[in-house]
Structures are given as C-alpha cells and as structure tokens.
C-alpha cells in the first residue's frame, strides 16, 4: 500500500487538483500554480545530483578499474572540478567576507547578489562558459553540418513521387533562405513562404492534433493509475 498505492493516490490527487485549478481564476488558485511550478523546478535542481552522481561514478569506476581510456575520465573529472571550483569560489569568498549590512536592503537584493555572484557577466564561471563551453558546443553542433550534407544527398534522391516532393520542398526552403535563391529567380522566396504557410502548416497542424490527443490520453492514464511504468520496480 505505502510503496505502490500511495504514490498512485498522490498522482491522482495532484492531477485532479491541477485540472480543476485551470478553471478557477482566483488568486489562491494562481498562487498554487506558481508555487508548484517553482517546487517542480526545485525538485529538478536537486534531482540534477542524480545525473551528476551517475556521471562521476561511471568515470570513477573507469579510472579505478584502469579501463581503456581512463585518462579521458580523469580529464573529465578535472574539467568538472574546474567549473565547480570556479563557480563556487566567489560565493565562498562572499560568505567569508559578507556584504556590509548597510548594502543589504532587502531579501530580493540579497537573492540577486547570490544569483549573480557565480553567473554574472564577467564572472569567472561566465568566462568558462564563453571561452570553454561555447566554442566546444558550437563546434560539436556544427560538425553535424558536414554529415548532414551527405545525409541530404542520400535523402534527396527523386526515386518516387514522395521523395521528389521532399526534395523540392527542401530545395526551395534552402534556396529561399539564401541570397542566391532570390538572384536565380525572384519567385523562389515567395514559393518558400507559400510552402511554409500552406502545405507545411496543414501537415504540422494535423500532427499537432495527433500529439495533443496522445498527450491527453497519456496524462489521463497517469492520473487514473493505468500507466505506472514511471514508478519502476515490481513492488
């Protein structure tokens, strides 16, 4: 009961409360929504530790068991520590050398001070983000640009009517977005706009209807306890 039925009861209660909440335009109802949204963010923030633990544990085992590539795991640990130490050091300094009382006007100000200590423009963590994470992530995503070109070559072969339509739509969209398209023929940008606003809209809208139906039915299954896979385990 306490392991299986109670969680299902909580899911049911929360689901029903928030369906009803949507139809009550009262301040208490709005506050409840705001609070619970914030609570969900807090739970998400704490749950991040699960992912971090899992990552660190995996790499710790790689190093401990001398598995092939353990040196890279060590590099990962080192980079992780750099980010964490650099991120938290200003706050630790702030705790050791707190703001003068006179400058602490309100809870909001204190909150803002702590919020910006680690992430504000020009902070050491921001430096890592701008000059470490940004070039790495931009390059990592841009690398797909090279592979998508060969993927496009394979996908855009006009072997059937469907493939031809796919090819034509993609060509018009790609040409319409570049100055070359307009230079070749002034009608290309207009065709691109028409493709996006008419056949694309129709297909997307129908797919959205389908997603909405699926989402509603899945949500109802969770609320009524039919879908229980998220609980995991047998007991």
């Amino acid at each position: 009961m306490i392991k299986r039925q109670l969680p299902l009861l909580i899911a049911f209660a929360m689901g029903v409360i928030f369906i009803i909440q949507f139809f009550i335009p009262h301040q208490i109802s709005q506050d409840l929504l705001t609070w619970v949204n914030k609570w969900l963010m807090i739970i998400g923030g704490i749950s991040l530790l699960l992912g971090i633990y899992s990552l660190l544990n995996f790499h710790y085992l790689q190093i401990f068991r001398n598995k092939p590539g353990w040196g890279f795991s060590l590099i990962m640990f080192f980079s992780f520590l750099i980010s964490v130490v650099v991120g938290f050091t200003p706050s630790l300094i702030n705790v050791i050398l707190p703001l003068p009382e006179s400058s602490v006007q309100s809870a909001e100000q204190v909150k803002e001070w702590y919020r910006i200590t680690g992430l504000k423009d020009g902070s050491s963590l921001d430096w890592i983000f701008r000059h470490g994470i940004t070039p790495l992530s931009a390059t990592m995503f841009s690398i797909i640009g090279f592979f998508i070109a060969s993927a496009a070559f394979r996908a855009f072969r006009a072997r059937s009517l469907e493939a031809t339509l796919l090819l034509l739509a993609a060509v018009f969209i790609m040409l319409g977005q570049t100055p070359l398209g307009g230079m070749l023929w002034s009608g290309i940008p207009d065709i691109m706009t028409w493709i996006l606003s008419t056949p694309n809209t129709a297909a997307k809208r129908a797919i959205l209807f389908g997603i909405a139906m699926g989402s509603i039915s899945f949500s109802l299954k969770i609320i009524f306890g039919i879908e229980r896979a998220y609980l995991g385990g047998k007991n």
Binding site: I46, S47, S79, S83, S137, I143, A202, F218, I223
Partner: protein, 259 residues
C-alpha cells in the same frame, strides 16, 4: 598587437581555436584529440550545470527563503525586511521531495523516490491537459476553419484555406488506423503522405541550413583568428593538432602491430 586586443583576449582566442580544432578532428575519424575535447566539454558542462542549478534555483528559491522563514517562525532572528509571500515553511515540501528523489541511490529505500515521481507526474499531467486542449487543439482549430469567402478574402487566400483544410483532414486520416486504408480512404491517406513529405522536406531544409550556418560561423571565426592580430592562432594550432593526430595514429598503429 592592436590596442583593442588585450592579452586576455589572445589567451581566450587560442583556447577557443584549440577547442574548435580538437572537435573538428572528428572529421578525419574518432581519435584521442577529439576525445580529449569531448571529455573536457562534458566535464565543464556538468560542473556548469551544478553551479547554474545552485545559483538560479537551489539557493535563491529554496535555501535562502526557507532559512528566512525558519528563523522568523522560530524567533531565532529578526530581519529588516518582512517575509515575502514565497518565503514560507511550505518550501519544506519540495526539499523533502527532492531528498526523497535521491533515495534512488539506495536499493533498500529507492521506493521512496516514487512519491516524488508521482508528485511530478501527477502535477505535470494535470497542468498539461487543459493547456494542450487550449493551445494544441482549440487554437489550432480556429485558423483551420477560416471562412472561404468574404469581403476581404482574396481568391488566393480562399485556395490556401481550402488546401490547409484538405491537408489537415488528409493527414489526420493517414493517422486514423481504426479504418482499413483501402479505396477512397487510401487515396486521401496518400494525399496526407504528400503533405507530410512537403513538411518534412521543409523541416529538413531548415535543419540543413541551420547546421551549415553553424559551420559557416565557426569557419568565419577561425579565419578571423588566423590573422596576425591573434598571432596566427588558427594556423599554428592547426599544425600542432594535425601533428598530434598523426602522432597518436602512429602510436596506435605501432601498438596494434606489437599485439
């Protein structure tokens, strides 16, 4: 060095060029230099995520308001500013639920995390139903059912409205599996496929362009950083990284031969 570029900017540039070229070595093949960049990326991002969660959620929305609420409730400390509406003892609920989530580490107590999961799934399901009905069904249905004709409606708009209505119905019929796709139903479903192919083509075209623009962005920066202002960062690091890739290749092939 021009006056506008500081030593710090030079260091930053060399770092960015190094990271960019390390990742681009993947274009040759998966190699240790790429892996080095990849693992640095994972480590820095994971550490940044921890700091981000702390500075944007855990401290300002949980620990600090809860600390203030607790000190006031138990008369431990008086604050100049009175408590704000969100600073209350109810914050113990997300704290407890968050801690319960961490019991997933334990094989004995991991069932406790079900309370948190149930809270999250129940709340999100309840919130999403009315929102999905409103945003994905009603708001999408209204422009689908535009008038075909009227004082301000042009013939072009009429044709487009008809095409959208027909397209929506055709695609919906394609996904309607309760009826066998034969005869007229099959023809309409096939029309739905044509609409979807155009849509997928548009999406693919957009994706290709977005990725290519990222490549152009990186390459433009590399070209900029190859200038004397940045001490030929791109050129020098390109040679160093190519040299390192060749060296690692030589070592790995020698290792294979020895085995």
């Amino acid at each position: 060095m021009p006056e506008s570029i500081t030593t710090m900017q030079i260091i930053e540039t060399w770092l960015a060029v190094g990271f960019t070229l390390m990742i681009y070595t993947f274009l040759y093949k998966d190699n240790p230099i790429f892996k080095l960049g990849e693992y640095i990326y994972v480590g820095l991002t994971a550490g940044y995520a921890v700091c981000y969660a702390w500075f944007t959620v855990i401290w300002p929305d949980l620990i600090y308001p809860l600390y203030r609420a607790l000190t006031v409730s138990f008369h431990i400390k008086q604050w100049e500013k009175p408590l704000e509406s969100h600073e209350n003892l109810w914050l113990i609920i997300p704290l407890v639920l968050g801690i319960l989530m961490l019991t997933r580490f334990s094989s004995k107590f991991n069932w406790l995390s079900r309370y948190t999961l149930a809270f999250i799934m129940g709340s999100v399901s309840g919130m999403s139903i009315p929102l999905v009905v409103s945003a994905n069904i009603f708001k999408q249905m209204v422009p689908t059912l535009n008038p075909f004709w009227g004082p301000e409606v042009t013939i072009f708009q009429t044709i487009n409205t008809c095409l959208i209505l027909v397209g929506v119905i055709a695609v919906l019929i394609y996904f309607f599996f309760s009826v066998e796709h034969k005869g007229a139903v099959n023809k309409v479903a096939r029309l739905g496929i044509f609409y979807m192919m155009v849509s997928f083509g548009a999406a693919f075209g957009y994706t290709v362009m977005a990725r290519e623009s990222l490549v152009i962005g990186r390459v433009t920066k590399l070209i900029k950083w190859a200038s004397p202002d940045y001490y030929y960062a791109t050129i020098i690091l390109l040679f160093i990284i190519i040299g390192l890739v060749v060296l690692t290749e030589l070592f790995s092939s020698r290792g294979e031969r020895t085995e």
